[in-house]
Homo-oligomer: 370 residues x 2
């Protein structure tokens, strides 16, 4: 008999929390009145149980619920169903934690590359890493390819599609991948420094697979995927079928108010194979606190069975003048992702601005490791 | 130049709402500072724009944003990305509405069967319809098959797996489908009344497809899928590849606090092919109001281009003694889904209780159409 533990933050009057916690355990397992469970085996082995209830602020409680591993069938979609299916529809419940026993954790490979694999690919064993997003969507392919070359020439490690760039008529996927791969190869030949283009894979599972094949055939090594947009189970299938890619995971459609960001982006995305979860940085245009970002980062990197550590990628309203502060906070096992702030400049000025970003990041990394 | 309109409910101080609305339009399109958009075509054709801001209560505003159709690429995942990608990560923003221009709507087939197709399948042109869920998960296949036969003998139109029943070792999918199909055939032979077993399809896209084939080969006509669990794009692929199934759409993992229930379950699920969206009924163990349920039901059924009306399926803490009230509220184009409340009884008593449910629903339907 093995059990996983899911943790929920529940808003409740103190006199009602026991009842609510019990109701949640029922909702997330047999989902029927306990008196409708006529079989003793099911009561003993299948019905979830409340393991603990702790105060977590005024009218808030942290509730640990033990859920039978056998109910998950060891499968991605059903695991999500069991930990946050119906109770996602409840008011005032947030999923904040997930602990899997070793036999269930072993069903998930996690990142195929992780921090170490990304460092090896980039030939950068110690320093902090850089990424830049190509924006705005709507650019035609030649303009995107030019921007890609410029950013790679400036020394950016990973040049990625903006997550709004999909397979639109103005920049079709196959044409864009070919052009950006050629552009980046040209830049790498000039600089002698490794740099990779990461196209955005988005669509239904059939499209994802078709696009992944195109990317693989074009020599792409790093891709961008938004697991909540394509669906967590589809993300899992993609990683299983194309393990050669390094996966940057984008938080789009993460609706993170109902699942704690550290859990969703730092742990669940990692569990399903994200090598480098992108998340919204504190002090930018999103409402994440520094504490939340710190917890998320620690969660992505912490030891977890045989699951490789994932590389945290803070992003969202990132500015050049914050690089020093951010690396001091996040440390070197971090990839800083900068988007719009670089793109205030164009052409040669863009290259200079991107180079400033790269040298600042790498300079701090070098000082730290010296 | 075609534009879709997405509607958001935003909590904001009145003096800040214009700025927040503009920021949302940028976030959901080019996602960079407006001054980083150097191309006039992109400013004119790609950048989303605020169409209107209306008060919607104290410190709440309803904001219509026009988003360029070409940014969606006519594709499911990217459509979701454009309407609620990054801004799902904002605090105090709810997606509440979606209007698609005809050329974009035409890219989506919607329900393949809808209300009319379900009525035809069931041979029930006018009356209200019934469904029952088999619970609790953990039962072995023979027990599930027996329950399936009992409920079909009682005359229930659609007997469905509980959404917690997946492909666990205690009731493997293929074995369960074969046994339940045999059980229901036996009941139908005895009663002469059509009745259908709806197995739960859940898993990664590869599993979904494999299970759908097993179900189709076994003669299954109705299936249960939770679109948010399997991922909206994977749901779309499934419906496209297996259009012969009637799709009951389960709200699990719907996290509906961030997307208005009427929009997610009544409109988006329908757009992607749900024939019958299940939703949580008012006055049960979920917090939906009667108003919300009424809006959801109206949204599922309302005329919408060439998209067929979908059959609303209220569920969740449904009780026999509420049937009359609920049908008076929802009207005959409704399928009532009852789960745990029936299962307080077992064996012959369960059959009698299920028959009472069926005759009550059908009796009210007959009176209403007389």
């Amino acid at each position: 008999m093995a059990w996983l533990t899911a943790t929920y933050l529940i808003a409740s009057a103190p006199e009602r929390i026991e009842e609510r916690a019990e109701a949640l355990a029922i909702e997330q397992s047999v989902e029927c009145p306990p008196e409708a469970v006529h079989d003793a085996r099911i009561r003993d082995e299948i019905v979830a149980r409340v393991a603990s209830i702790e105060p977590a602020g005024e009218h808030r409680f942290r509730v640990n619920v033990r859920i039978a591993v056998q109910t998950t069938g060891g499968e991605t979609a059903q695991l999500i169903n069991m930990i946050f299916g119906n109770c996602s529809l409840w008011e005032n419940v947030q999923l904040t934690g997930l602990e899997l026993p070793p036999e269930l954790l072993a069903r998930f490979t996690g990142p195929r590359h992780g921090i170490a694999g990304i460092r090896e690919l980039l030939g950068a064993p110690h320093r902090s890493l850089t990424s830049a997003a190509m924006k705005p969507q709507g650019m035609h392919v030649p303009a995107i390819a030019t921007m890609c070359r410029t950013l790679a020439r400036a020394g950016v490690d990973i040049v990625k599609d903006d997550h709004g760039i999909a397979d639109q008529a103005y920049s079709p996927f196959a044409e864009r991948v070919a052009a950006c791969q050629a552009a980046i190869a040209e830049a790498v030949a000039a600089t002698g420094k490794p740099s990779f283009y990461a196209p955005h894979l988005i669509g239904t599972p059939r499209t994802l697979r078709a696009h992944a094949r195109i990317a693989r055939d074009a020599g792409v090594r790093v891709v961008l995927v938004a697991p909540m947009l394509v669906g967590l189970p589809a993300f899992r299938d993609l990683v299983d079928e194309f393990p050669e890619f390094v996966y940057l995971a984008h938080p789009s459609f993460g609706g993170a108010a109902r699942i704690a960001p550290a859990l969703l982006f730092g742990r669940i995305f990692r569990l399903l194979g994200a090598d480098a979860p992108i998340f919204v940085n504190y002090g930018g245009r999103f409402a994440y606190s520094q504490d939340e970002c710190g917890t998320l980062t620690a969660t992505a990197r912490e030891p977890w069975g045989d699951v490789r550590p994932a590389l945290p990628v803070p992003a969202g309203g990132m500015r050049l003048d914050r690089v020093e502060e951010l690396l001091a906070f996040y440390g070197p096992d971090t990839m800083l992702l900068i988007g719009g702030n670089l793109l205030l400049a164009q052409g040669d000025a863009l290259e200079a601005r991107a180079r400033e970003f790269v040298t600042t990041v790498e300079g701090i990394g070098a000082r730290a490791s010296a």
